[in-house]
């Protein structure tokens, strides 16, 4: 494979890792966002335990995405991580707080102790989802990349209305995805409640999705350039709309698995559209278009990209097979047992 093909392949691979991450961690972040809506301690425990064996593995997709970005496009990794310094520190804070809240909530039988970790679990899940959206929104808009590829911008400058809108949409989408997951994993009253959350989250998401789409078309003209070049790409937004529309249909037909597949497809489609909108940039520059960090000027050497492809080809089948095994072992409705949180 040529160097250019390898760079393209790795752009796609990163997309796959990103989609894997947002679909998988999306539902467990969503469960955290919905956490305060649960009425009793048992319901909260059921919700936490529905993601108990899974969230840790889901987060590994993010770690691997980070490692792959570092290896395949070191300049992009360096630019993005140092450019979003405060935002990413807050994200790390959220991820740590979330892990700790999940781990330690059940350790002490006291209302105050548990409510502290309940708040921690909610805030960290909400915060992480919002920050992912905000980062995505900023990358859509483009960032003030300097001549040396560095971004000098504070977190407050990164909290414009458009990134916040994308952030809010992400939060609502994860909440929707999480609500469908809770519906799948629970029974009786909690399941009935989850049905209510699905509808609420769906309408909030629908409004924000339409608003974000309109806003993107208005303020990011670059977003549709690639669609003009490759018209077959239009199939993705069409599928996206169908997937969104299929969620209420599936719920109406009481086919929650289809609804979950549909919300997964919605997430995948949005991540795909994001990738198409910025391609071939990884960080579009607002300073001068030719200062953008692209897959061409950020990539690693041909040799390294080739080696990494071999590593991925050897490793990913294993990853997928034991991910499948784990989800199979923990299939079915969540029950509280003696190894539960």
């Amino acid at each position: 494979m040529s160097h250019d093909t390898l760079a393209l392949v790795w752009f796609v691979m990163l997309g796959v890792l990103l989609i894997g991450y947002v679909i998988l961690d999306g539902f467990d972040l969503g469960v955290g966002i919905l956490h305060p809506a649960a009425r009793s301690d048992t319901d909260r425990r059921l919700m936490m335990n529905s993601i108990g064996p899974l969230w840790d593995g889901n987060e590994v997709w993010l770690v691997t995405f980070g490692g792959a970005l570092f290896a395949a496009f070191p300049n992009a990794y360096a630019t993005v991580f140092s450019g979003f310094y405060e935002a990413f520190m807050l994200l790390l804070f959220c991820l740590i707080l979330r892990a700790v809240s999940l781990e330690f909530r059940s350790k002490v039988h006291s209302r105050r102790w548990r409510s502290v970790w309940d708040v921690g679990f909610f805030l960290s899940s909400f915060g992480a989802a919002l920050l992912f959206g905000v980062a995505g929104g900023n990358l859509m808009l483009g960032m003030p990349v300097g001549e040396d590829l560095a971004i000098r911008q504070s977190v407050f400058e990164q909290l414009g209305w458009y990134p916040l809108l994308v952030g809010a949409m992400t939060v609502s989408l994860f909440a929707l995805h999480g609500a469908i997951f809770v519906y799948l994993k629970t029974e009786d009253e909690l399941q009935r409640q989850a049905r209510g959350w699905i509808w609420k989250a769906f309408f909030v998401f629908l409004v924000l999705y339409l608003a974000a789409t309109a806003a993107t078309l208005a303020v990011v003209p670059r977003a549709t350039e690639n669609f003009a070049r490759w018209p077959w790409l239009w199939i993705v937004p069409v599928l996206n709309v169908l997937a969104v529309a299929n969620i209420p249909r599936a719920m109406h037909l009481r086919r929650p698995v289809y609804a979950f597949v549909s919300s997964s497809c919605t997430i995948a489609a949005l991540a795909f559209l994001f990738a198409v909108a910025i391609f071939p940039n990884l960080v579009p520059a607002t300073t001068r278009p030719d200062w953008s960090v692209t897959i061409w000027n950020a990539r690693s050497s041909e040799k390294t990209l080739g080696i990494m492809l071999v590593i991925a080809a050897v490793g990913m089948p294993f990853v997928l097979s034991y991910t499948a095994v784990i989800y199979w072992v923990f299939r079915g409705k969540v029950k509280l047992d003696r190894s539960s949180y």
Binding site: D41, L54, Y85, K107, D148, I326, V329, L336
Partner: protein, 536 residues
């Protein structure tokens, strides 16, 4: 303080915090594998209980290892962007391989390990334990390889790149296997893994010794203590041998580092200091006790052989001396102590004599702290001894290759204020995390291995164990990732009452699941409503 010092401190702080946990999980992983083998081989339930206990301890440490590990991965990019651009082609691929080969394996099978006791058969559980242990070793392999490449780079060349009209240099792989098997990676990897086994063995010894002193869980102690002791003893001796190999290798590949370790300022025959207080400015070691010619003899079997001293390097290329010297000597000293105590105790296992030797048991209770300190000190020596380089200058086919100074690896855009702010935030959350870790860890040890443990008396304050002991009692009712417990008799009663209530009211109405409107009541009834061992 400037951004360089702050970023160095932040990196040191976060990596040292992180490195409390991975060696524990690697070492305990080995112990868990041994225990599950015993269980599968003999079918004795006590082995299973022991395996479950260490699994709970393992899972607690694993959770913190993951949480603090993500910070490490992000930090390369956030604080050290220039470094990331320089090494990404090489270091990044090792890191990505770690993610793909190690992290997925560990975190996936950890779920089975912890939550799967009642869901999968013993063989599948054993397989999962093996996979988690293997995953933690893979993880060590890739990250130590990546770090070793920075110490003794190989299989690469430095390439000039041009972006936006600006020239930059970066390392690119030319030979993958030469990069992986660079001159120091095998030595450093075995030494790192052995250090982890020492720590795992010593932790098992520590907890068992404490139980023995308190007269608790005698059967458990007699099963686990010998395993911990043998692991620690074998690993301690192995650490000496691999350590010696490594010193010989460092003498060749990083002579400045070895000179700093030993406070060897002038090229010539070198003494071996037992301890001392090196003064880099005066170029001498104060208050030192040394064996003349010993270092020369160890390296070359000739007490008058020449060893390169710090004077062979221009001042700007010299590492600091005091810190690597002390960290290195602390590690070596502790290593010698481990050998003496653990190997010396092996004969005492016969007939269980050791369980009656209270002073020695107390030594074991605290020796694990030395295990933590030795693992940390070894890395402090390795990393500070590498300075001022983050990537050592090297040579490929006779052509010198430039290195990267740590000071040149900083992020272009990040300011001291930003680092100070994030350090404060992480300082706070790590302090909190550490306290909660101590608290839960202590609770697990207090709770002990038995699944059907006696309920702790709720009206006393923890047998004089102070705050942590008292706090541990509070956790008697906890359920968690890392805890397995049968309900107490009073909970069983509550459960029956709760079931009564459930049957007595409309199914599905919210009031049906909890007798009262109070959330606390709901919690009790909810907990009690579960079926022990259910959920299959």
């Amino acid at each position: 303080m400037d951004v360089e010092i702050l970023s160095r401190l932040q990196f040191a702080g976060t990596i040292m915090f992180h490195y409390l946990f991975p060696p524990l999980t690697i070492g305990l992983g080995l112990v868990m594998v041994i225990l599950e083998v015993q269980w599968l081989r003999t079918g004795v339930k006590a082995w299973n209980e022991a395996a479950r206990f260490w699994t709970r301890v393992f899972a607690l440490n694993f959770a913190l290892g993951v949480a603090s590990g993500i910070v490490m991965e992000f930090q390369f990019g956030t604080n050290w962007a220039a470094y990331s651009r320089f090494v990404g082609d090489v270091f990044g691929s090792a890191l990505a391989a770690e993610g793909i080969f190690a992290f997925f394996l560990e975190s996936g099978f950890l779920a089975v390990l912890v939550f799967g006791w009642d869901r999968v058969g013993p063989r599948m559980h054993f397989f999962s334990t093996m996979m988690v242990f293997l995953g933690s070793c893979f993880s060590a392999i890739w990250i130590v390889v990546a770090n070793s490449w920075q110490q003794t780079p190989d299989g690469y060349h430095i390439v000039e790149t041009e972006v936006n009209g600006q020239t930059a240099y970066r390392a690119e792989i030319t030979d993958f296997w030469a990069m992986i098997f660079n001159p120091s990676s095998v030595d450093r990897l075995t030494h790192t893994l052995i250090g982890a086994f020492i720590l795992g063995g010593l932790l098992v010894c520590s907890i068992c010794a404490w139980y023995a002193l308190k007269g608790r869980h005698e059967d458990f102690v007699r099963r686990c203590f010998p395993i911990g002791l043998v692991v620690a003893a074998v690993a301690s001796v192995a650490a000496l041998l691999t350590g010696h190999d490594q010193a010989e290798q460092v003498a060749v590949t990083q002579p400045a580092k070895l000179a700093a370790f030993e406070g060897h300022f002038e090229t010539g025959p070198a003494a071996l200091y037992l301890f001392g207080w090196p003064d880099a400015r005066a170029e001498e070691v104060r208050f030192g006790v040394a064996i003349p010619g010993m270092l020369s003899w160890l390296l070359h079997q000739d007490a008058s052989a020449e060893v390169i001293g710090l004077d062979a390097f221009p001042e700007e290329d010299r590492p600091p001396v005091w810190l690597p010297f002390q960290a290195y000597h602390l590690m070596v000293g502790l290593g010698m102590l481990f050998i003496v105590v653990t190997v010396g105790s092996l004969p005492l296992l016969r007939g269980g004599r050791i369980y009656r030797m209270r002073p020695l048991l107390w030594v074991f209770v605290f020796l694990v702290l030395g295990g933590f300190a030795a693992n940390q000190a070894g890395w402090v020596a390795a990393e500070t001894g590498r300075q001022p380089w983050v990537v050592y200058p090297g040579e490929q086919d006779g052509v010198p290759m430039q290195g990267l100074r740590t000071a040149d690896g900083l992020s272009e855009s990040v300011t001291a204020g930003q680092v100070a702010w994030s350090m404060t935030m992480f300082g706070l959350i790590y302090a909190l995390l550490f306290m909660v870790w101590l608290f839960v860890f202590n609770a697990k040890v207090m709770h002990g291995p038995a699944i059907e443990a006696e309920p702790p008396p709720s009206d006393t304050t923890g047998e004089g164990e102070g705050f942590l002991g008292a706090a541990a009692l509070l956790t008697g009712g906890g359920r968690s990732l890392t805890e397995v417990r049968e309900p107490r008799p009073d909970e069983v009663r509550e459960r029956d009452e709760a079931d009564e209530r459930t049957r007595g009211s409309d199914r599905g109405s919210d009031g049906g699941r909890a007798g009262g409107s109070d959330a606390g009541d709901a919690s009790d009834a909810g907990d009690a409503g579960e079926r022990p061992g259910g959920g299959a």
